[in-house]
């Protein structure tokens, strides 16, 4: 292991800040053990917004990354997806991962886009790729795929190839039932 200020900072985070977080959120937030350096927490979907506000006030001024993982078919139903947040505190050099299990018919979690401006595009990407909604997001539209794309490609039940027919005998005018033809 190389020597660097960041690794010591992560130890400090684990030693001092994590107990504080667990004390402030006795319900719904717990620490997940990991053999790697960055400490990780698991939070209930309802807790992520208060937790994020708490973290921001505690010095985590950068939302490093926001993404999601689909665990289907290993996990189904309520905990099918996990929204993964990476927070970073400058200049303390703390990095913290928070994993929020979501699922159900209409997976939804609170938006953080008013706390960090870069949560806005990242949440749009998660909506685009996984179909997870963000409550309170000002502009939850597709960001990578075209607006008329069907489905959410990073879901595990979305096939790599052939999610729609390339050759079909349905006439062009009837092919897309989702949007009426304009012009």
């Amino acid at each position: 292991m190389s020597k660097g200020p960041g690794w010591a900072a992560l130890e400090e985070l684990r030693r001092e800040v994590i107990p504080e977080i667990l004390k402030a959120f006795p319900e719904g937030v717990r620490e997940l053990p990991t053999p790697f350096e960055i400490p990780q927490l698991q939070a209930e979907p309802g807790q992520i917004r208060p937790l994020a506000q708490w973290l921001k006030a505690r010095g985590f001024n950068m939302l490093l990354d926001l993404s999601a993982v689909d665990y289907y078919p290993h996990r189904q139903g309520d905990g099918r997806f996990e929204v993964v947040y990476h927070f970073f505190a400058w200049p303390q050099l703390w990095k913290l991962r928070v994993r929020v299990p979501v699922g159900g018919e209409r997976p939804e979690v609170d938006s953080l886009s008013d706390l960090w401006p870069n949560a806005n595009p990242a949440e749009r990407e998660v909506w685009d790729q996984f179909g997870i909604r963000f409550r309170g997001h000002p502009n939850l539209t597709r960001i990578l795929n075209p607006d008329d794309f069907e489905g959410h490609p990073l879901r595990k039940d979305f096939p790599l190839r052939g999610h729609r027919d390339l050759i079909t005998d349905i006439p062009l005018a009837e092919r897309n039932p989702y949007q009426p033809i304009k012009e």
């Binding site: 660097g4 490093l64 993982v69 990476h86 400058w90 990578l144 949007q179």
Partner: protein
């Protein structure tokens, strides 16, 4: 398939805005957007009041494709993301998987990785200066910069066999050993490079027209830069000395002597100066890595992870089985998740890998530094003149292969 067209979208936007404002759609096929970026600008006279980036035109589903390839094969698609510095992508991913596997990479591989990753950073920044020069109307820098970059690409060709998408860093070490003439070509490069760089530097950073076009344009305060998730040279130009190589050293970066250049004002000029000084620092690391290059194997000796030498395959039964197994099935990686950040030419390039214990990655999430840079453009472009828009985009250095993945 007919969708709501550009015309309708614009009409909607125009309907809700003040009388003296104009909405202008720039791109996606605009030569100055470094790829395919569409910017919807709201103008008051020639001043930009609001900018909305729209991207996704280069989306190729790389993260999805990687989930369907074996661990070692996924390297090849990750190359195609940040196509100006593919070795940094390779490096981040390989380090993440090696961490999950819990294997040690031999010192020669580690130092070669450092050397080539720094060369890659230099070559990426050279493209930045070449095309950035074109964006402010100077034709000469691109010839000088690409001439120097050519020397670096020649080194890559000798070492890895290809110039752009090398896929040279593999899980467990390197794809092949360094070539026999490596010392010779590196000495040649180290001898020629400083002089050529000086020429480019004088042409750009001391050019009064260049300074006039870039100074005070697209300012971001340190707080804003942090809030927008900017990393790398864009963040350091705002005066925040965060560098993954210093803060969270990987690959023995703590053994190298280099500085982290920072800017003061956070404007376009500082973004360029920081990158130019970064080239010099990278060159220092390249020299140190070349001089201190250890001897030894170039990939880990674990036959369950790296291929056996071809000569051994022809002699030994076990080696043949290992070869066959690695090529057809790959290897299983213990379950877990790891977040590995490396400092690429564009900032903190990080890979969040989830393994479920199979021979394919369950999820490869890439933290794209230029994705966040593109979405910081509205903050940079606010109250800029429209003529400066091109400069701001060029100075932020987005690569759309990585933004859209």
């Amino acid at each position: 398939m007919i969708r709501m067209g550009l015309k309708d979208e614009l009409q909607q936007e125009v309907a809700g805005q003040a009388q003296d404002r104009m909405t202008l759609s720039v791109g996606p096929h605009h030569p100055a957007t470094h790829g395919v970026l569409r910017l919807v600008l709201e103008l008051e006279g020639e001043t930009i009041v609001k900018a909305t980036p729209e991207h996704g035109f280069l989306h190729t589903g790389i993260e999805k494709t990687a989930e369907h390839l074996t661990w070692q094969q996924a390297i090849t698609v990750l190359d195609r993301m940040d196509y100006l510095s593919p070795l940094s992508n390779n490096l981040g991913y390989s380090l993440a998987v090696e961490k999950l596997l819990g294997i040690e990479v031999p010192p020669k591989a580690v130092w070669t990785r450092v050397l080539l990753a720094e060369l890659q950073r230099i070559s990426s920044h050279l493209v930045y200066f070449g095309t950035g020069g074109m964006d402010v109307g100077a034709m000469t820098p691109i010839f000088l910069a690409f001439d120097i970059r050519e020397m670096i690409l020649d080194i890559f060709e000798e070492v890895a066999g290809s110039r752009l998408h090398q896929s040279y860093f593999r899980i467990g070490g390197l794809q092949q050993d360094l070539p026999a003439n490596f010392n010779e070509i590196m000495r040649n490069f180290i001898k020629k490079f400083p002089e050529r760089l000086e020429e480019l530097k004088n042409l750009i950073l001391e050019n009064p027209i260049f300074i006039d076009r870039t100074k005070g344009i697209g300012k971001l305060s340190p707080e804003e830069a942090i809030a927008h998730g900017l990393t790398g040279p864009n963040l350091r130009a705002s005066g925040v000395p965060y560098d993954v190589r210093k803060a969270f050293p990987y690959c023995d970066y703590d053994k190298f002597d280099f500085e982290v250049p920072i800017g003061k004002n956070g404007d376009c000029y500082d973004r360029m100066v920081v990158r130019m000084r970064e080239i010099e620092e990278s060159f220092k690391i390249v020299q140190q890595a070349f001089e201190g290059m250890p001897e030894g194997p170039f990939r880990c000796e674990d036959r369950k992870i790296s291929l056996p030498p071809k000569a051994e395959v022809k002699q030994s039964m076990e080696a043949l089985i290992h070869h066959f197994k690695l090529v057809s099935y790959g290897f299983d990686v213990p379950p877990g998740e790891v977040y590995q950040a490396v400092e690429s030419a564009r900032g903190e390039f990080a890979v969040y890998v989830v393994s479920m214990g199979t021979n394919k990655p369950w999820r490869v999430r890439v933290r794209p530094p230029s994705f966040y840079a593109v979405h910081a453009l509205p903050a940079m472009l606010k109250n800029c003149q429209i003529a400066d828009m091109v400069v701001v985009i060029a100075a932020a250095d987005p690569v759309f292969g990585e933004v859209d993945r």
